[in-house]
């Protein structure tokens, strides 16, 4: 059997995305062992929504069998995904959910992701204290789902108060600057809920200020995990693995083979999601995470993916 799968990535501003593509390409090669030839076509560039719509249309012109996309918008692709479906192409979104009925989502539940780390923080603080949140890009759906997630969890704890929520645009340095300003004006906070790479920045600001009494969520790059282990930080991090696209690819190949999901993808706000498990790194399993990343470059993220076997097991 031979399948061609188009991979579209609309933002190249982070190492996580690079790793995402690389792992997906690896996963495609691994199918050779099963006697299936999976060819990937990759479009990966900094584009806006129209630019990424063009990615999809290019794939349609090329006549690929499936498209896996890390989308720049949740809803903007409805029309173009409909075009793809008309052309008989399977569309799978990953990392951010899409509203299109013509696509399914294979990835983590961003809201659950935030809930997990928020719960860790709330429980570590024993259910009371003041916290701040440093968020990604305002208006971005993944960000807003995460915000909903932590707000819901903190809402369950009456003695936890969110004193401020700021946006660091998923930029490490902006996260660091935001944390710096927060520390100056809210010197008595107990916890920080912060996302992704900005966590490294926030932790750095706390260390610079000598504040090792604050609990904060962490992130999953080797650089950070090393610092975490070395300095015994009080942190916990839920994992959005860059392997999500590889997982999506493994699911896609199964679907292209004509198999049916045992449980159809109906989760999520749009009712088309297949959620993957979300690993969590805390002091308990920190050393395992360290080991998994041993010898990798500093920007490598802790990852996990559905293996071919795992994926196949989801199908009838």
């Amino acid at each position: 059997e031979e399948f061609t799968i188009g991979l579209s990535n609309g933002w190249v501003g982070s190492e996580w995305r690079t790793q995402m593509i690389a792992e997906a390409e690896e996963a495609a090669k691994a199918w050779a062992d099963k006697g299936v030839t999976v060819t990937t076509q990759v479009q990966s560039a900094n584009v806006d929504v129209p630019g990424q719509i063009a990615h999809v249309r290019n794939f349609i012109s090329q006549g690929v069998d499936a498209i896996i996309i890390n989308p720049n918008s949740p809803t903007a692709f409805d029309p173009v995904f409909a075009e793809a479906a008309d052309a008989g192409i399977l569309v799978i979104a990953t990392d951010a959910e899409v509203s299109s009925p013509d696509a399914i989502y294979v990835g983590i539940d961003q809201k659950g992701w935030a809930e997990m780390s928020a719960r860790w923080l709330a429980e570590t603080l024993e259910g009371k204290g003041t916290v701040v949140a440093i968020n990604g890009v305002a208006g971005h759906p993944a960000n807003e789902m995460r915000v909903a997630g932590y707000q819901e969890v903190f809402g369950e704890f009456p003695d936890i108060e969110i004193v401020n929520e700021v946006n660091g645009n998923w930029d490490q340095a902006q996260g660091q600057q935001a944390m710096q300003n927060i520390l100056a004006t809210y010197p008595d906070i107990d916890g920080v809920w912060v996302q992704d790479g900005m966590a490294a920045g926030a932790w750095r600001a706390m260390q610079d200020a000598g504040r090792d009494d604050i609990y904060a969520t962490g992130e999953i790059r080797k650089d950070f995990i090393d610092i975490w282990s070395e300095n015994k930080l009080k942190s916990g991090a839920s994992v959005n693995p860059p392997g999500v696209m590889a997982s999506a690819l493994n699911v896609a190949v199964n679907m292209l083979q004509g198999k049916k999901l045992k449980e159809p993808a109906t989760a999520g706000v749009y009712g088309n999601a297949l959620y993957l498990p979300i690993p969590f790194i805390s002091d308990e399993n920190l050393s395992e995470a360290s080991q998994a990343l041993e010898g990798q470059p500093g920007y490598t993220s802790f990852t996990s993916e559905l293996s071919i076997g795992d994926a196949t097991a989801l199908f009838e």
Partner: protein
């Protein structure tokens, strides 16, 4: 002199005013430590803005939109060369300056030899550098900052101030000296004011202008190095936020985009003003939409103080 001093005084007054406002809204905002930390962030911006300032002073619509790309590339290269060890610091500095001056040189040659408008040339170069970053990140692992570099940026060193603030001060003095006390400085102003006449008066216009872009590249590279020290490790797109911020800092400091007029002292205060304003907005507990609306409006109000071009009717 008093004419040149006015915008600087306005900017300085506004900084003080914002600090006071900040202290009232969120107590602790004007604490000495916070002032120090804001100054560090301002220094990072200020160093980028030094190069931007020179390019703008040189006139002919001078502007450098590639600074963000250069910062990111320099931070990547430097992090990789030093990879967390003090021994690698010096080679890293050299590597970074080489990268910055090379990109600056290409910008300069495009602008002077091919006569590409600076906005277009440096915008195109930004696209190229961003592409280069993706390639480079696949090829070379990004590394960590040397401890010495991190301490230089964020730990109090001499007289309670971190090294970066001394460096910024030094750059301030050097820029003032360069602009007011050297022949090169004279040449910058003269090509900014009237390139054709300057050329007839023996100014090597192309060489001078090319050097301005080289210097801008070098300043961005130095800033990239410092930002690496600030954040500890290099990461993709570290420099993105500096492109327009550096231009705004220059304009808030009283150097008009038309060139031939202005200086760096004002730009330093402009950088401080911008950072204090952003810091103040961060500490306000409001929606992001509110922050953006206030930030945009505040910038408009600030710009009303300066940078107004003259009317047509004398």
């Amino acid at each position: 002199m008093s004419g040149a001093l006015k915008p600087i005084l306005i900017a300085a007054g506004l900084v003080v005013l914002l600090m006071i406002a900040g202290e009232m809204v969120s107590p602790g905002f004007a604490s000495p430590e916070q002032i120090l930390r804001l100054s560090i962030v301002a220094a990072l911006l200020g160093i980028v803005a030094a190069g931007q300032n020179l390019v703008i002073l040189g006139g002919r619509e001078g502007i450098d939109l590639s600074v963000g790309g250069v910062i990111s590339l320099a931070a990547l290269v430097a992090g990789n060369v030093m990879s967390g060890s003090d021994a690698g610091l010096f080679p890293a500095i050299l590597a970074c300056i080489a990268v910055g001056s090379l990109i600056g040189l290409l910008n300069g040659l495009g602008v002077t030899l091919l006569r590409i408008p600076p906005l277009v040339m440096t915008l195109g170069m930004l696209g190229v550098v961003q592409g280069l970053l993706v390639v480079a990140r696949n090829g070379i692992p990004s590394g960590r900052a040397a401890p010495m570099l991190s301490d230089f940026v964020s730990q109090p060193q001499w007289l309670g101030l971190p090294g970066i603030l001394w460096l910024w001060l030094l750059i301030g003095l050097a820029m003032a000296g360069l602009l007011n006390r050297t022949v090169f400085g004279q040449r910058i102003f003269s090509i900014g004011a009237n390139e054709g006449a300057a050329r007839l008066a023996g100014v090597p216009t192309r060489v001078t202008r090319t050097l301005l872009y080289v210097l801008s590249g070098v300043f961005s590279a130095i800033a990239g190095l410092c930002i690496l020290g600030y954040s500890g490790s290099s990461f993709a797109n570290v420099g993105g936020q500096y492109m327009l911020a550096s231009i705004i800092a220059v304009v808030l400091g009283g150097t008009p985009l038309s060139g031939g007029r202005g200086g760096y002292t004002g730009t330093m205060i402009g950088a401080l003003l911008l950072v204090v304003l952003q810091g103040l907005l961060t500490t306000l507990s409001i929606d992001e939409s509110g922050r953006q609306i206030i930030f945009g409006s505040a910038l408009i109000v600030l710009l009303l103080f300066y940078g107004r071009s003259s009317g047509l009717r004398g």
